[in-house]
């Protein structure tokens, strides 16, 4: 036998299940704490997806129990249930699912998650997975025990029977696995459910921990997220290989029909234009195109302008609910949010939403907490490898009042940053769905969104600093200056000095300062008006006297009142300027009332009454 033939005998197909059995890290089961988190996450994602599809407000119960050396994970929902025939394949066949072939936003995509958990459970404990599901109140529930035949990637049913179950409908899954339960950090079952609750404010999540401690993440809205509809692929950014695949397997007979029916946003006119630009016959069958022709068609896609993909395939959380979600789990002084318009990468529509919480009880000296989500699923691991993180790191946060010690990287400050990317197909870096790949279109959108919320934060902070400056000045004027004046008079044994002029200077106010001097039976009165603000101040200054004044300088208007005279000057003082007024009155029996300023706010005037 030839060596090649000898070698050929050893070649054989590998089942997917066997492949994953040997490469469990790809699916997120590489460490003991992580196995529990991934398992809970996959089961909860399935429940949320199912509830949303059925229009039910999710109520999900998660329990982790210690069972000997292992842990038992129970996840139970109030979803629509699964029909009896489907149960074995949903839970015990890898790459089986309803979502892989549709372009629509959902948490699950490939049909791997929960079956991978079943596989891991069976590998580490040898025990079957138990499932109960009920699809209607009047029907019995179906109970089954399942394992995966890894060689064939097919379910094996150990037991299947009808049972009574108190729920009207829903699904319950119980798995036993090796693992270890941790708390008190973000990479934990608790932390991952908390994050899930933030972006799924319509869900109620209950967690019972191994020691019996119960945590409830209550729902904050009764309205379900907008339903996401399936769409056709969008021509922008589709790859050549993908296009050739679609051409070859199309059941359409004519190219122009193929173009119109296969892609979203392409109508009869665009289809015609594409064909003429590519120099192709619109009537030829799609599968007759050779490589060269497909290439021409592909470059024609890039030349014509098509409208954006339809938005209804995506279901964003929305600014209001992002805010509600953050408020629910953090105490914050300020929240900024933004939802970016829908954009496209490789034919897949996506959109980015960002929530930015600041202040409150967040740690001031540590790095900003980053919450990453993809299609409402929290991303817990591999923060450093994720496009969402990279976008945050490349923003120059110093321009937005947050410190960034090394000039790039995650900023430091009392803030929490929520980034959600929704797409019909999230480009993950691996099957364990930990990190979003560095797709340029995604990086650009996240960057724009971050800068938008950062600008809002900067505006908020600068408003705050104006306020605190004002408060600081108030403290100086009300508490400290009077004390200094009093102490000085104590030390020197003199009368307390008037702090008015200094107050006006510090506050940037208009100062009215009157002095009077007795001379030869007359009172010589001088009024000095200083503008310490940086704006022009226009106003009237009134001096109400019981007798007529002489030598009034500059000239004032006089209005006789019943019991005296109102002298007033119309003044306009540029910033930093001052003016001196003076007059003379007979000294006997004259009592001077406080000068009056008309036409300005009381808090910007010192030394006069304001009307």
């Amino acid at each position: 036998m030839e060596i090649a033939e000898e070698m050929a005998r050893q070649q054989k197909a590998i089942s997917v299940a066997e492949f994953f059995e040997k490469n469990r890290q790809i699916l997120g089961f590489d460490s003991a704490p992580r196995a529990l988190i991934t398992c809970v996450k996959e089961a909860v994602d399935n429940s949320l997806d199912a509830c949303e599809d059925a229009g039910i407000l999710p109520d999900i119960f998660v329990q982790i129990k210690k069972s000997g050396e292992c842990y038992q994970v129970i996840v139970e929902d109030n979803g629509p249930g699964i029909v009896q025939e489907e149960i074995p394949r949903v839970f015990a066949k890898l790459l089986y699912g309803s979502r892989f072939h549709t372009l629509r936003q959902s948490r699950g995509q490939q049909g791997i998650g929960i079956s991978a958990a079943v596989l891991y459970s069976q590998l580490t404990t040898g025990k079957p997975t138990r499932v109960i599901s009920k699809i209607a109140p009047h029907k019995p529930a179906c109970y089954c025990e399942l394992i995966i035949n890894t060689a064939k990637n097919e379910p094996e049913i150990i037991k299947m029977e009808d049972v009574d179950w108190e729920r009207p409908r829903g699904t319950r899954v119980e798995l036993e696995m090796e693992g270890s339960y941790v708390r008190s950090r973000r990479q934990s079952v608790y932390g991952s459910l908390k994050s899930t609750a933030i972006v799924n404010p319509h869900a109620r999540l209950t967690l019972v921990e191994p020691e019996g401690n119960v945590e409830i993440f209550e729902r904050v809205t009764e309205s379900l997220p907008k339903k996401a509809y399936a769409i056709s692929p969008h021509p922008a950014g589709i790859e050549l290989g993908e296009l050739m695949k679609l051409l070859r397997y199309s059941d359409k007979k004519k190219l122009r029909i193929f173009l119109k029916e296969t892609f979203s946003s392409i109508g009869a006119i665009s289809a015609q234009e594409l064909c003429s630009r590519a120099g192709l016959d619109p009537e030829q069958p799609p599968d007759s195109l050779d490589h060269e022709q497909a290439k021409r068609l592909h470059s024609a896609f890039k030349q014509i302008k098509v409208k954006s993909p339809p938005v209804d395939c995506l279901s964003p959380i929305g600014e209001e609910l992002i805010k509600a979600g953050l408020e629910k789990e953090y105490r914050l002084d300020f929240i900024a949010t933004t939802v970016r318009p829908v954009s496209v990468y490789s034919g897949n529509p996506f959109l980015v939403e960002i929530g930015f919480g600041y202040g409150g009880e967040l740690e001031k000296e540590s790095r900003v907490e980053l919450l990453r989500f993809a299609n409402r699923v929290p991303l817990v691991y591999q923060q450093g490898a994720c496009a969402l993180t990279h976008a945050v790191e490349s923003v120059s946060w110093k321009n937005y009042s947050l410190s960034q010690p090394t000039g790039s990287g995650i900023p430091v400050g009392p803030a929490v940053l929520l980034i959600h990317i929704a797409s019909t197909n999230i480009p993950f870096t691996s099957e364990s769905k930990d990190a979003v790949a560095d797709v340029p279109e995604i990086l650009a959108e996240v960057d724009l969104g971050l800068k938008e919320v950062a600008r809002k934060l900067r505006r908020y902070l600068s408003r705050q600093s104006v306020l605190s400056e004002r408060r600081e000045k108030e403290e100086i004027i009300r508490k400290i200056l009077p004390k200094i004046a009093r102490k000085l008079s104590d030390v020197l044994g003199k009368a307390e000095p008037d702090i008015g002029p200094v107050v006006a200077k510090i506050m940037g106010n208009l100062l009215v300062f009157r002095s009077a001097e007795k001379n030869d039976g007359h009172l010589l009165v001088g009024i000095r008006v200083e503008n310490h603000s940086d704006l022009v101040r226009s106003f009237k200054l009134h001096e109400v006297l019981s007798v007529q004044a002489e030598e009034v300088s500059p000239q004032a208007k006089i209005i006789p009142l019943g019991d005296g005279y109102d002298y007033h000057w119309k003044l306009s003082l540029p910033p930093g300027q001052s003016i001196s007024l003076s007059y003379r009155v007979a000294a006997d029996g004259v009592s001077l009332k406080e000068p009056v300023v008309e036409g300005l706010d009381a808090e910007i005037v010192t030394g006069a009454r304001v009307i």
């Binding site: 200094i484 020197l492 510090i506 100062l511």
Partner: protein, 379 residues
């Protein structure tokens, strides 16, 4: 008995009148400070005090006195900020205390006591003693007086002298005369906080040696170094107090004795030497009063580590930082220090004075010091 009591009273009275004469000036200057603030209020000027800024960047060499003093950079304490306003309020409170309690009643307090007195000053209370100490230094600068003039004294720091020196000290209980070898215990004569109450009567010394650590001071006394080499030993106890520095300066100035400084071989010890020979950044306003420009550094030099093969410790990150900062300190900008500091940065090692003990208890007095001193041309 009654007689001696009377004599004490007489002396006490005499001291009081002398002090009152000096304090008259101090009171006037403090009142002047308060008055200038008062007038600022009256004239509508935002009240403020200007002070030279007390940083490394603002000390310059005064050729006139051979010492480092503050340059022209000024900082302003004004009531425009809460911090500035509070500092001014504290300054006024402190002035009142010094005028009314200290100067008018001829009483005094220690730095620590002043910190505690401020307990009753409401928002003008000091948060830590460093704050009140700094403010007193500010007042010294503004009034061009010394804290002794305000009757403010430091806590006892126990710096001591041992050597062939005869002196007379004016104390509250009369004048005391003593010889700093024959009339004192093993620890030596303790330097009082007001050194200007001392009069030097006579000596047989050829030099003054300032020593950083108590261990080395005791070693030199035990080995009879003061007798063998006619040396006045001054134990400076770490960073030397003002009184210690003033004492050394007077020994140098009035008796014309050369001064050498013997410390550990690390960056912190070079700063001790700098404060004796060049002046401290914190108290550069007193440089002319406290600094001995003729003082010379004896050791331990970084080159001694190599030459004498001393046992060493590794420099810590903080040590390295301090050394590098000394390279940019104008006080150390001499070829000698530049060479030594760079050598030490190279070695990454430091040595204590006590390292000589590794070669025998007599090594330092029989070998190292005689060698170094003749190298320096002192013996």
């Amino acid at each position: 008995m009654a007689d001696s009591g009377n004599r004490k009273e007489e002396q006490g009275e005499k001291a009081v009148t002398e002090a009152a004469a000096a304090s008259g000036g101090a009171e006037q200057r403090l009142m002047g400070l308060a008055d200038s603030l008062y007038r600022q209020f009256q004239q509508g000027i935002v009240p403020h005090i200007s002070l030279p800024s007390r940083t490394k960047g603002n000390i310059e060499f005064s050729i006139k006195d051979d010492v480092w003093v503050y340059g022209d950079q000024e900082t302003t304490r004004s009531v425009k900020t809460v911090r500035g306003a509070k500092t001014l309020l504290k300054t006024v409170h402190l002035s009142e205390l010094l005028i009314k309690e200290h100067l008018r009643n001829n009483r005094g307090s220690t730095l620590r006591e002043i910190y505690y007195i401020s307990e009753n000053w409401d928002i003008a209370k000091f948060h830590e003693q460093a704050e009140s100490d700094r403010l007193i230094e500010d007042l010294e600068i503004v009034t061009a007086l010394h804290r002794e003039d305000f009757h403010v004294r430091p806590e006892e720091d126990g710096a001591a002298v041992f050597g062939p020196l005869r002196l007379k000290e004016k104390t509250r209980r009369g004048e005391k005369e003593m010889h700093c070898q024959d009339d004192v215990g093993e620890a030596g004569y303790q330097i009082p906080f007001n050194v200007d109450n001392i009069e030097f009567l006579g000596h047989d010394a050829k030099m003054v040696m300032a020593i950083e650590t108590g261990g080395m001071y005791a070693r030199l006394i035990e080995n009879g170094f003061d007798q063998d080499f006619n040396t006045i030993l001054v134990h400076i106890k770490g960073q030397p107090a003002r009184s210690t520095r003033r004492f050394i300066k007077r020994l140098n100035n009035e008796l014309g004795l050369p001064v050498v400084v013997f410390t550990d071989g690390d960056p912190w010890s070079y700063r001790i030497f700098a404060s004796i020979a060049y002046g401290a950044i914190k108290s550069a306003h007193l440089s002319e009063h406290l600094v001995t420009p003729a003082a010379r550094f004896l050791g331990v030099q970084p080159s001694d580590i190599v030459d004498y093969n001393l046992s060493t410790d590794k420099l810590t990150d903080k040590d390295l930082q301090a050394l590098r900062s000394e390279l940019t300190d104008p006080r150390f900008a001499t070829p000698y220090w530049d060479k030594q500091i760079r050598l030490q940065l190279d070695l990454k090692k430091k040595a204590e004075q006590q390292a000589f003990a590794g070669k025998g208890l007599d090594y330092v007095t029989k070998t190292y010091l005689p060698q170094r001193l003749s190298e320096m041309g002192i013996i």
